[in-house]
Amino acid sequence: MNWPRALLTDSGGFQMVSLLHLADITEEGVTFQSPVDGKPMLLTPEDSIQIQNKIGADIIMALDDVVKTTTTGPRVEEAMYRTLRWIDRCIAAHSRPHEQNLFGIVQGGLDPQLRDICLEGLVARNLPGYAIGGLAGGEGKDAFWRVVAQCTAGLPEDKPRYVMGIGFPLDIVVCTALGADMYDCVYPTRTARFGSALVSEGVLRLTHAAMATDYRPLDSSCTCMVCKRYTRAYLHTLVTKEAMGSQLVSYHNISHMMQLSRNLHSSILEGRFPEFVQSFLQKQFPKGDVPDWVCNAMDVAGIDISMCRIPQSA
């Protein structure tokens, strides 16, 4: 890749959820139907770690037994315990522990007791970092933030907490308030390809007819290459039609997320994180209609956002 910065590889576990009808999960590993030639393929924890050792990323992920958050019943418990058994196999198979950081993934669905058991088990393994997995599925936001809060409370203070598959700016701000550090998501680039730009106020749908004669940049506060050069009017003509549209809006969206990360980081460092959260919410919800789940989460995080529920004057 000739990429001089950090890299993180996933274990292939997420594909278990997304390709579930093609997968058979046993204690040994996951049997997929190969998307290339249709033949059965077995991915064991050992295989996953071996491949990740070869790719050589700085952070590698354990193979976990992921279930959809909407799953109920004994399968959730089975998956959580298997994840703990598999982390030991991953640790044993990891041939480059001094060059690559193996993160464990907390599972347990939406059940606080199962999550607790998993947390305890993973923390005991003293891994370099931890992911909070099994979210970013179909669960309701209220359940989602509670699981994140429980996990951040139960994970060591001095190690990274990585919420997998989270990428909506609002979700990132909430999870950060709850004590998480790292995120990944296809959302910024995928939504770009469908013609949506991420801006301070929320999401700008560039395909909307009104954009055709809107000569403003995507986001007035953004300093990225795209916002310096282009208007909504021009990008409107490109999105969903030209590859360049996907490129330019993706560029801006990634830049937007990087700026959000920088803002979160520096506001914490400079002791003004609550003010940043307040300002963020006021821009996203000018009418004061901050969702209940956000309010509840901020309560637990100890951030006062009462002023955000008051509508802003135009």
Partner: protein, 409 residues
Amino acid sequence: MEFVVRTWSAGARLGSMQLAAGVQMETPTLLLLTRKGLPAFIPPDLLQNLHPDARACQVSPLHFLDSPSASIVETAGGLHKFVSMTGFGMVALARDSLMDESNGEASSKLGAAFETTSGRRVVGPAKYMEIVNACKPDLWVSLPDEVPTWAAEKRNRLSVDRTLQWLDHCLSLQPAERGNRCLGVVVGSASLDERIRSAEQTATRNVVGFSLGGFGLGEDASQRALQMDAVIAKLPKEKLRHTSGLGLPEEVLQAVEAGVDVFDSIYPFMLTKGGYAMTFPLNMENSPGNLDTQPSASELAYIGSDSAKMNLRSVAYRLDKSPLVVGCKCYTCQRHTRAYIHHLINTHEMLSQTLLEIHNTYHYLEFFKAIRDAIKADKFLAFRNWFTSTRKETRVHSPASKSPTLVLH
């Protein structure tokens, strides 16, 4: 626009063209392909330093019929501002080879017919100039009624008449304050008489240069040479000549020898879309001296490559750590390997197209530079002959013998 011919080598000429303030180019040269004003896959920050000669683009007014419309470009202050290409030359020309090769069948006195993403559109001079004037390009080619070589005699004659009428109409709609920026199109298809008539008539108009139309539409290459010579013989020597639709390096060489100065082509784009890297050797000094180190023509053919292009979809490149072209100084070759680009193509990543379009455009521009260097050294014919001979060489590897037999034909 200023254009001055500086020197000649056989029929080829070296020129100096100033399209706009700060946009000075030597000719023969290439206009980069654009869609709605920007390259297909190369974003503006990578375009800035793509190549010293990547300074001008072609742009088709057909991309500005609906989204965006002419009035939107006008409100935005013109094309350069709208697509953030200030500092680049923009040359407007009607042909959009990616969408449609015009056969002239649906054209009428109202305008030329084109297939666009919003269906068939008939565009007449008034509409055409509305878009051109809104865009304010540095040069614009007048609207032609192009027909292919198999058009009937009567239809061909009509195309010459119409193209002249439309040229006059377009010129009348050119605002005086912008100065003269028109390249008049010469048509006439396969008929030498009509070509000559079109050229003679167009030469009497107040244009800054000419566009040789109706080429790259499936005509016979040997006929093309005759037609180009016939046309150019009737055009004033000091004025600029442009042509669209040619692509293969041999086609460019033939047109340069005839006296063409500026080209636009879909060739780098088509290679990119197909997953090919442009690889033909660029000049006599750097060409591989020892043919033994190069794959034979049959080995290349087996993996879908040839001496001009490399098929990066082939598994032959799966572990190949070389750059696309060894010694190439483009952004892609300085950073990435054949193996990586092969992987990107296999995983359907858009980055493959960005990296390939960068290399293919750079390589093609280097070819134009090699042409200019040859003209400057008065060695154009030697260069042309060398180039066409390397393309025709094949090495025949018989399994029985170890030493290859060189066959020239």
